[in-house]
Amino acid sequence: MSAIPANLAGGHAHADDSHGHGDNYLNHQRGILSWLLTLDHKRIGLMYMMAVLTAFAIGGVFAILLRTMLWHPLPFYGVNITPDDQQRASTSYDLYNHFFTLHGAVMVFLFMIPAIPAILGNFVLPMQLGAKDVAFPRLNLLSFWIYVTGLVFFLSLLLGGVLHVAFGINMPGGFGLDTGWTFYTPYSSSHAEGNVVAATLGAFILGFSSILTGVNFLATVHMLRPKGMTWFRMPLFIWAVYSTAIIQILATPVLAITLLLLCAERAIGIGIFDPRLGGDPVLFQHFFWFYSHPAVYIMILPAMGIISEVMAAFSRKHIFGYAFIAFSSLSIALLSFLVWGHHMFVSGQSPLTNAVFSLITFSVAIPSAVKVFNWLGTMYKGSIRLRTPMLWALGFIWLFTIGGLTGLFLGALATDVPLTNTLFIVAHFHYVMMGSTLFAFMAGMYYWFPKMFGKMYDETIGKWAFWLAFIGFNVTFFPQFVMGSQGNPRRYASYPDGPIIHMLGRDIPSFVAGHRIATVGAYTLGLGLTLALVNWLMALRNGKKAAANPWGANTLEWHTPSPPPHDNFSFTPVAGDPYDMHGWKYDPAIDGWIEDEQAATRPSPAHAH
């Protein structure tokens, strides 16, 4: 703690003015090819941002579509409806299947898994580490283009679906995707009308991209730490991305082979997973969840890393329990490999297996809670500034806590069995995966936006975006906990009236009310996220110039100008304690923080303005 922070170490106290307008990575080279073929991790990060946000928009459109469909329940099969209605309903059921599948698959494989590691990890990790680039820049570029290839596969699914619905043209191999993002056999291998082969190949390709990114980050963290950057001076975001890389490397290959086998099963019927051919569908579930449960932590771990950074920076306080947070990341990574069976409590596992998986599942709560308590401890007696990144981070804690605690209901066998495949599950994993990952992603985007582009966004609009998204999210998913516990199944295009509740002197059918509230919430959430996008675009166009260190944080990326030069640092970075923020003082002239020469002699910590 008493170590001289890095900002006092080198002769670079004038980093702001010497490079502020000069050569940076954005204008270092010009021309479209200098972007498409760049080896600069920062540019690759921005290209990932374009591609991943495109995918996010597609997934979001499907979410809006399926919530809109649920405004009116479709008639049930055989419940006093005419054959004509039944035919019409059947078509809508199929459409609904495509909507929720594409929503899930696009969001999971194209947005949530790559979002934080590929965008923010690529941009921030080498700089936080004090390195000039990732260990294998060419591999990094390759991994981006592999991602784009996978994106194209998924776009071809969409194209097939559009051609089918709009023009009645059927592409070979099926159109769209209607298996659910989990591709469960035997539906996916023998019955689905979607193009399962294209989807699994696309996911396989995306997995390859993920593996290469993981290998790259792992080697970078191991090999490219400069002088002074010991393992325990690494910022917690790096610890988180490092743990993520371990999961990516260990779990994704298993998904790869699973998807290849499924592809072969679908294409020629090899009889591994399809029970009709003597295969074992539960084996598919084991394989799938052996990857896809760790994949949940691929989504959440880097998100937690962002929260650790933001919490410390906006509480103006050293992170509380650094080592605990670091090791909890690693232990989550380890535990993530031991809990996949909790997705299969009702798939025919033996009771003993179920009990063991249930027990290990509960133990994941320990490192997760360690993190939450440490964040709270960081805020305690801190000088908290509720800037936009901090708001998103606090939203993360709210959502993650609800999502995590409802996870205990699902980890416990007695409550999981009735709750399986209800909206309760949907609400739970949206809180944990989507709510937490998305909110942390937004926190990170707002936090590093000034560093990326050298521009400040409009704080008011940013806060509006947060509140709309936060309220919208809770309004969307909290009713689903209630409806799920009342027995509304997931993935159904229809629903009955549900238990009648007496409220305001009226009898209200709870499922109808719940679904309509959720739909309104989804629109609000979409509005909030769109507003955030508008906020960024406006900032790019006419945002104020950002200071090198607008937040007063002390990780190494804030020591270099915004936007950073091509080689990240014009000096040799020397790492100190990443969370010792005493060496910075606020300068209203630039609305940022500059290094304070008197910091060493001043007794009390610097405070926020």
Partner: protein
Amino acid sequence: MSTVESNVADHGNGDAAHAPHDPHLAHHFENPEQQYASAKLGMWVFLGTEILMFGGLFCAYSVYRHNHPDVFALAHEALNRWLGAANTIVLITSSLTMAWGVRASQLGSTTALRWLLGVTILGGYFFMGIKAIEYNTKWKHHLMPGSGNTYYAWNGQTPVKGFFNEEPEGEKTAEPTANKSEAPAVAEKTAPQVAAQAPRELPPGAAPDGNAGQPDHAVIFPNYQTPKGIAAKFGAADEQLKLDDLNTGDKQRLYTFFAVYFFMTGLHGLHVLVGMALIYWILLRASGARRRLWLVPAAPMSVGLFLAYLGVVCGSPRLIAIGVAVAAVSSLWAVVRYTIKAPRLATSEGEFGPDYYTPVDLVGLYWHLVDLIWIFLFPLLYLIH
């Protein structure tokens, strides 16, 4: 990238003074040692992911073999273990020459390196050639993966006449004739024998997927099954397992062994091809050939591959064979030319020496992994009984 180095004032804490102009040193590394260690770490981790990927496949193999031991015991008889053994020897030898090549590059013996790399690639050709012969034989016996297989369950008429239940033992290599028409007769003959043990038999005229979703009797009630197959023949190893020794469910699953076989060896063969391409790339760099000559062999290779692709599209095995042959011969020609260092190609002594041998080392590691996987595949698939 190297142009930006001049912008950087203090480059690497004084270590920069050590070999600052090394042409192989990327700008973000401080010294060649760090670069070499990073590359090696990255490669090992990547090999780890490869092992995990094949690990999933081995896991599927174990599950299936555990569920249907008789299927594996009988079906593997269709594989030629002598060809498999030959391929094992070839791959191990090529691993030796590869390791030797790495050593040669470390010692700076460029001629030895070229020849050793050339021999290693030849090993790859040999392996793939034998594999092609094996695949071709399976195809002729209608033992391909998927629904073309004689023993495909969806035929609903198992066991049909094929490799394992042809009357004359000596005519196994003959083309099976019109399987479908003879199938009912064979089924009639075998059905009574297995009726007692068979958990269920497809009713005549049932829909092809009439048994979808039915539990597998052999898995759920293992104790109710009269010992048959290898369980009954345990201890009598000389006795050959016959098709009739299998229960009905297993007879319908014989083709799955071939699906597993083709999937595992096919994925492995793909890795062999990638390895050969990588070694070829190393050979080009080691030969010191002019870079613009590198693509010359690519032209006939592309033509060959395109012909093969056309063959796949048109369903013409002859065209596939011609295309593959063109690609193989033209690439082989290139390998030989670069190995003996044809005078027109040579410009320098090649890139690798004691100061820089990272690519040779890493490609070598990859090739050893390919070899290692085969060493597991061979006994698991060929030497079951």
